[in-house]
Amino acid sequence: MAVVGEAAGLAGLHVRPALRDRLDLPRRVVFLAAASMVAIVFVLLGFIAWQGVQLFVQNGYPIGSVISTTWSPQDAPISFGVLPFVAGTIGVTGVAVLISAPLSIGLALFLSEVAPRWARAVVQPALEIFVGIPSVVWGWLGLTILVPFLRTNLNGLGFTLGFSWFAGSLVLSIMILPTITTITYDAFRAVPQDLRTGSLALGTTRWQTIRHILLPAARAGTLTAIVLGLTRAAGEALAVQMVIGNRPTMPTSLTQPMTTLTSQITLDMGNTVFGAPDNNVLWTMGLILLAISMIAVLLIRKLNRSGGRR
């Protein structure tokens, strides 16, 4: 003890730390990793914002020119109206969420409140596999199975339904189902068990407990799930593009072909020259898409804050 005290004791406290300790390498590495992540995000945002305004800056089009429903990038009179794409994106994702949200919330309720353990053990991995299926596969399935099915089997209803808004929304709704389900499920599981037993002990039915305790308590989480589903759907390009028909006009009917921001960008980006107006308008559309998802992210943050206060 005494030896240690003489060797490294009080005097040891004043020895300068080794070079390695002064550099503090691990801390720097993780800091660098975090910093580069943030930097990449900001550089990307800056680049897309910069490219997104080139149509107005470089090519001299007035900002108002994109607020039009006419899309004619090659044939005179040239018009870069992007409203059909914005409306298409909103329309196709909106209907997809309308289809998917009730199913997802129902599935989450089943998993969280009703399912016996074995059923949960089956459904949860199934959902994870669901997430893992690449979007091109969904699109292909939509193209080869769903669209022909709709076309041949729904004729009796008095309209033809092939490549269409409805087909796009249906494919999207399946793709976002696991997203909404898992996040809603987590929100339900986060509701303290005490509240459930407290409610049941007052002589309420399981459904009353779900309706009056569980759903309100998980409200913020459920809305977050829906908004995340919306953003996932709005950002999805490939699968939608394969079944939606890609007609650059304002969406008029669920049975008609339409287009979205993402599908138009992927269709046109190979056929245009960097810097040309018809290329720059695609960047503008990308910027609009980015703005939509940023609004969604802000919305989620706000929801979670207000949800946590309660």
Partner: protein, 312 residues
């Protein structure tokens, strides 16, 4: 015992508040009714036959109740009776099955996967284990207060009105009255009456939250209240308030309380049941008696050791 007793019993069921305002001693039955294991044949035969039937009928009874979780026996063969408007305390060391046993009376064990209850539990003589018993209706008549206060994340008013509303009560004036009455009876009204609708139940202190939970139970107008260590998560002052409250509630309700705190059992209860964990790690009833007798002059050596603090 006379017909007056019978009448009070029915009046109470219809209008409990009347009884609380005017608890004329003559109209209330004696607090400590000697039934249960200590009951003798003579007690059962007291009075005229018809009145004796009413007086001797225990409010709640357990008959040879055993509870298993999966393959583990948690409670073995417990029989006891609780007379109306009395407090029975269940005491005993951890693992002696008190809480598990308590949950038979409102069938909360149904919610636990793998739990199985055998034997019979009776409320007013009606078998609660029978398949045609409505668990929802049962839980309205047998309320429960939990160890940890669990107010709902909603306003104080909505917390108290929760049970009645689920039963379809929507008349504003009636609900207002019921909420006030329940909160008053739970000794919380004066503290919260100014922001009933604005303040969340979660914004109250722990002791207030527990009284809110009691008010919430009272609002469903139960006959029996089960309390599972209702004061164990509270500070001493709040504990005292909850104990005072229990003594007041005894005028109107039949109460069964699980407690780790022997002083608490001694302070609030009329009768006390001592549970212990057997060699097979299953809980069983060792002794049940008037609280004073059980604490001062227990018949069983185990009880003696426990109440004098030698184990547990």
């Amino acid at each position: 015992m006379n017909t007056g007793d019978e009448m009070t019993t029915t009046t109470r069921a219809q209008d409990p508040i009347e009884a609380s305002i005017d608890p004329s001693p003559a109209t209330l039955p004696p607090r400590i009714v000697p039934v249960g294991p200590g009951r003798t044949a003579d007690d059962a035969r007291t009075g005229s036959p018809d009145v004796a039937g009413v007086a001797a009928m225990p409010k709640v009874a357990a008959e040879a109740v055993s509870i298993t979780y999966g393959t583990k026996l948690a409670v073995r063969d417990v029989s006891l009776e609780v007379p109306e408007r009395s407090i029975l305390a269940l005491i005993g060391p951890s693992g002696s099955g008190k809480s598990t046993f308590l949950r038979c009376f409102n069938r909360m064990n149904d919610l636990i996967p793998g739990a199985r209850v055998t034997g019979q539990v009776r409320l007013d003589g009606i078998g609660l284990m029978d398949p045609d018993v409505s668990v929802v209706e049962l839980r309205r008549r047998v309320g429960m207060v939990f160890q940890r206060p669990n107010p709902f994340p909603m306003s104080i008013y909505d917390n108290v009105a929760y049970g009645p509303r689920r039963r379809g009560a929507s008349d504003r004036a009636q609900l207002d009255e019921l909420v006030e009455r329940s909160l008053t009876r739970a000794a919380l009204w004066t503290e919260v009456k100014d922001d009933l609708r604005r303040k969340s139940g979660l914004a109250l202190s722990g002791g207030q939250q527990q009284r809110l939970c009691i008010a919430r139970v009272l609002a469903t107008e139960p006959e029996v209240i089960l309390m599972d260590e209702p004061a164990s998560a509270l500070d001493p002052i709040s504990t005292l308030r909850v104990e005072e409250l229990m003594r007041e509630l005894r005028e109107l309700y039949t109460i069964i309380i699980v407690t780790h705190n022997m002083q608490q059992a001694a302070r609030v209860s009329d009768r006390t049941a001592f549970f212990n964990m057997g060699e097979d790690r299953a809980g069983y009833l060792v002794e049940l008696d008037d609280t004073r007798t059980l604490f001062t002059n227990p018949k069983n050596q185990l009880t003696e050791d426990y109440v004098s603090g030698r184990f547990g």
